[in-house]
Symmetry: C2
DNA sequence: GCTTGACCTAGAGTTAACTATAGGGATTAT
DNA sequence: ATAATCCCTATAGTTAACTCTAGGTCAAGC
């Protein structure tokens, strides 16, 4: 089973433009073409794109992802680099999760702040709080 | 106690450029100036900047944050809007946390994949796995 | 009184990651 | 066999959020 670029775009929830851009940037050099030059995506290409999306969502820039793709095509000699890269990504995501949890705390705090103010009809209810009002 | 722009930058871990940019974009209209035009930051200004950083980290663009700042200066008549905004931000962060947790799962999966491959000395160890290798 | 260092504004430049346009080829339905 | 629809490339344009530069002001120390 193979897929056209627009089918892949729909499936992965990104645009045809973006896919072509990824190709141009060297993220998917393994995608084959028909004799007339049309891209033909295999299942394994879609799996690779999912990994690319995953790496992107860790905040990794496209140029670095390209480096990883190159390592993949170089075979077992780059296994250590690739492992190290994923450990690094893991640490990055852990840090992001920590930050986001702190953000969530503050947001929750503000939700309570405004709920209380709304119930009282005025923000003045918080005027004497040590907690930063705004 | 008041602070100069460079002290605030250091404290909040951002640049002087960024602070002036925020000011230009209307995020901190309440920051006062000396007669000669130099910005003088109060504690409450720093607190406000922390909220701004928090909103930014939820993915909120600066123009929308500006809208919130305007609501703040309009008083109690905008309490409902501000409450709704924070509820919306809370939902956004919840979604981000969910995504990031999924990302973490895949990353962990890949860490194991490469650990196993590294121990075996070759990626071929995964060739017959249903799980997408790459 | 002059140099130094921090501050100011206006505006140009940067970067990433698309997004869109123009111009053209191939395949499918009628 | 022709119109519609999808595909292609190359290249220009967009956007957000800074980042930097040029040119100038101002207060403090020597």
């Amino acid at each position: 089973m193979t897929y056209s670029i627009s089918e892949v775009a729909k499936e992965l929830n990104l645009t045809v433009y973006a896919l072509r851009y990824y190709d141009k940037e060297g993220l998917i050099p393994f995608v084959e073409r028909t004799p007339s030059g049309i891209r033909v995506f295999k299942e394994s290409d879609i799996e690779a794109l999912k990994i690319i999306q995953c790496l992107k969502s860790t905040g990794m820039p496209i140029k670095e992802i390209k480096g990883f793709i190159e390592w993949c095509s170089e075979g077992d000699s780059t296994l250590q680099q690739r492992y190290d890269m994923f450990l690094e990504r893991k640490a990055a995501v852990e840090a992001q999760l920590e930050d986001l949890n702190k953000t969530m705390e503050l947001i929750n705090h503000k939700c309570n702040y405004y709920k209380t103010a709304l119930d009282a009809g005025t923000e003045d209810i918080h005027k004497n709080n040590k907690i930063g009002n705004f």
